[in-house]
Symmetry: C2
Subunit: 494 residues, 2 copies
């Protein structure tokens, strides 16, 4: 795999002088087009062997292009705000928006590589982590990002020479640390693991580009040209067709036996029982949040449901049991301008809670496979891939000890009609029934279908859906609180 990157590539001064001015013009040109059209974001990874010139390469890219629209991220130690959230949080929070270029040194590949070389993680876990990376990068590409991955390579001899050279020069001696020599001793292992890693993560959407690192002119020119050609190609590509890729249809329902229809919406609870249980459950929940292990967890609660199903009321029964200092409710409305310039899940990542806190989502990332699907706000390809992306997202939260609790509040069509009419009668503005509510109602079967698909595809063992029979509001509130308590108890090992 590294053979071509050990041939001793080099570029003469003459060729360099001849080619660089034109390349710079071209790069600047492409960057300006990108900035003006805001067509897509560019994510550049610069990884590779120690001393292969990663830092210098990034400096050159900043010099050749307009550095005002490039953000370079050298993420090393995790900050405590990052430590309390899933591993990929630190990358999500600095993703470049459309039109901009983000360069990463110290990428999501560093940790798995080093940990495997030094034996902290076994091959099986390495593979697992690489698989997650592949899925993350695929999501970026599907969201329109141009992802370029450069691997700067040095042969063992070349690396030794570089290290010695840096050590000799008093002005660069500081750059060579014991760790570098330690890594050098592990060169063969690094090479073996890197090859395995590069092989398995070189995908059609974002292949690795391996570049021999010993000659700076060769390195810069190769990377500069690869970057320019990738930029130009994407910029000049005709607008993609309206996502008409053939996608297999969802299984049609041939017996009309839908999951939602199996719910017994008639379930009720007596007023006295309700009051009694409500008090007990709220007390139980409150106690749980004061459990001494609770500060090692976080809780994400998702509320979805039919219009007028009583999401707001259920949320209030939860927050009544909590201290206002430890929860945040995130009402999901139309994305802001900054959110629209980012991948779909970005606006949910930015709201992931710290340890010991609750984030309660009033509607959520499931909008993509519900309203956006039914109303055609996104393409079929977009919502189809969302199931997998959502599962990945929730898996990352769960791995970080987040309890993910998801509720679908279901009411019958008749009950909805009754509530709509009641609200119209009260006429109190905060319950205003809009045209849109009536329109959504007309699409009842489509929404029903979408909900069933959603549950089928995203109710996982680690983040299951709880379907809540909500014709009786009180019954629903009790079921919500009970489920929430049980899920937290189970996470606390109770």
């Amino acid at each position: 795999m590294f053979e071509s990157a050990e041939l001793g590539h080099s570029i003469s001064k003459d060729i360099w002088k001849k080619e660089v001015p034109e390349l710079r013009e071209n790069l600047l040109d492409a960057q300006l087009d990108l900035l003006q059209t805001k067509k897509f974001p560019v994510v550049i990874l610069v990884a590779g062997v120690d001393c292969a010139g990663k830092g210098e390469t990034v400096n050159i890219l900043n010099e050749w292009m307009d550095p005002r629209h490039i953000e370079t991220h050298a993420l090393r130690d995790l900050t405590d705000e990052e430590l309390e959230r899933p591993q990929m949080y630190r990358y999500w929070r600095v993703l470049p928006p459309r039109g901009k270029i983000g360069i990463f040194i110290g990428t999501w590949y560093s940790a798995p590589l080093v940990e495997n070389v030094y034996g902290t993680i076994k091959n099986a876990e390495l593979d697992q982590r690489l698989e997650r990376i592949i899925r993350f990068e695929k999501m970026l590409c599907d969201e329109g990002a141009l992802v370029l991955k450069f691997w700067l390579h040095l042969s063992k001899d070349q690396q030794k020479k570089k290290l010695k050279g840096l050590e000799k020069d008093p002005s660069t001696r500081w750059r060579v640390t014991d760790k570098d020599w330690q890594n050098y001793k592990m060169y063969d292992t690094f090479r073996k693991v890197s090859e395995r890693m590069l092989r398995s993560t070189s995908t059609a959407e974002s292949p690795w580009i391996i570049v021999e690192g010993s000659d700076p002119r060769y390195r810069y020119l190769t990377i500069g040209k690869a970057l320019h050609s990738a930029l130009r190609q994407r910029l000049d590509a005709p607008a993609p067709p309206e996502h008409d890729e053939p996608i297999p249809p969802m299984t049609p329902s041939i017996d009309n036996l839908l999951l939602l229809n199996t719910l017994d919406l008639k379930r009720t609870i007596k007023k006295r029982d309700y009051e009694d249980q409500l008090e007990k459950l709220q007390g139980r929940l409150n106690l749980l949040t004061r459990h001494d292990q609770f500060r090692k967890l976080s809780v994400v609660v998702v509320f979805e449901g039919n219009d007028a199903a009583g999401k707001g009321g259920s949320i209030r029964r939860i927050t009544q049991a909590l201290d206002a200092r430890q929860y945040r409710i995130i009402p999901v409305a139309a994305p802001t301008e900054e959110e629209r310039a980012q991948p779909y899940l970005w606006r949910f990542w930015r709201n992931i809670p710290r340890k010991g806190r609750f984030a309660i989502f009033d509607r959520s990332w499931y909008g993509r496979v519900l309203v956006e699907r039914v109303e055609g706000f996104c393409s079929r390809a977009d919502w189809m891939r969302a199931y997998g992306e959502i599962n990945d997202f929730e898996e990352q939260m769960v791995r970080n000890r987040t309890v993910v609790v998801k509720f679908w509040l279901a009411i019958s069509q008749d009950e909805q009609l009754r509530r709509f009419k009641e609200r119209e009668k009260i006429g109190f503005k905060r319950f205003k029934i809009t045209e849109e509510d009536w329109r959504n109602r007309d699409k009842w079967p489509e929404y029903e279908r979408a909900v069933c698909d959603m549950v089928d595809r995203t109710s996982t063992e680690i983040a299951p859906w709880t379907l809540v029979e909500a014709n009786d509001k009180n019954y629903a509130r009790i079921k919500v609180l009970k489920t929430l308590c049980e899920r937290i108890e189970s996470a606390l090992g109770k």
Copy 2:
């Protein structure tokens, strides 16, 4: 000052039952109006004596209103990301946008109060810090925020009773810590210092509202009603007139001797000297960033100047000397939707660098007193108060060991014309001259006047302006680099 809050206020169950439903309706109503009109943000501070019921009060407010549009912030320990930035950063980053309510427990008053009571800071420093708080709150109010400050008070006996009561009950015992009893012993001092603090920070725009804390019903009802009446008043107020408050005119120039005119724009440097000095200065700057004390500093560089004065070129001469991993360039363009919903300086606060890093602003917060002033994009009152707000902002950065370096790149009208024409001739798109550039040029005298006012009012000892004669680009670049090196050296105590 606390006399009225020690009278033993209480509200009977009957009155409570009668009044609460209406109050809740009214509060919800006002909150919905706020949300829909997005007229202003609401900042509520809940401060006061230990055990006076701050947490419970905030919980009640969340219960009475729609908690989805309230964010409660209990800021305790600083995170390491906050520790590396000015004190107020943690508050700026969570300010509520227009239409939302932000409730703060553990406010900007806590630290100065406690530190003074326990003798860490003397009265003089307390006063200084309170003065800064006053200025911060005034800025919030000027930016349109409704700022409500509640102080929950308990007499010494009442506090003792509360502490004992909490200790007796097994379910609340955990809430009473040694620290609480220690604070109780200092009750008299706390009372004295609190009074001083409340007195000096009770301003016309945001007065303190002192509430007796012992009876919950009294406390909740008082605060709920105060909140409702303040909300309603602001919501129903007619749109403010187009900021026609009488403001004294700036000193007219009667002898036409302007600061800018004293610059000798003819200054030049020979090409060979330029190359020689450039290399030396870039090397010097690079060495400075590797100084072992440098990681305790951060650097903010501001570039302002006439159109075509060469800001971009100067910035590149700086970044060439730096490692791409340690700087970020922030090109200042039109604010985003999220930024427009916040006070003017919010978008600059969010870009304050961490320790050991550079943030280079290509145009900056000075836009308010330059283009916005000249073009009438904001009212006279807005840009007039901006001078003071900017000085406060920069002072906070400097206090946090940020080196603030500000450059005005000045060229003559003739030189600008030459550059405009040259750019039109090259016709290369990234130098496109727009209609706007020509229009700005027509307003040369107004801009000149604005620049002089800006320098007069914001060139401070801690964050001075450097006026750069930029008709000769090379001369300008050398002056910029030299100034930057000197400023960092002086901060390093060299």
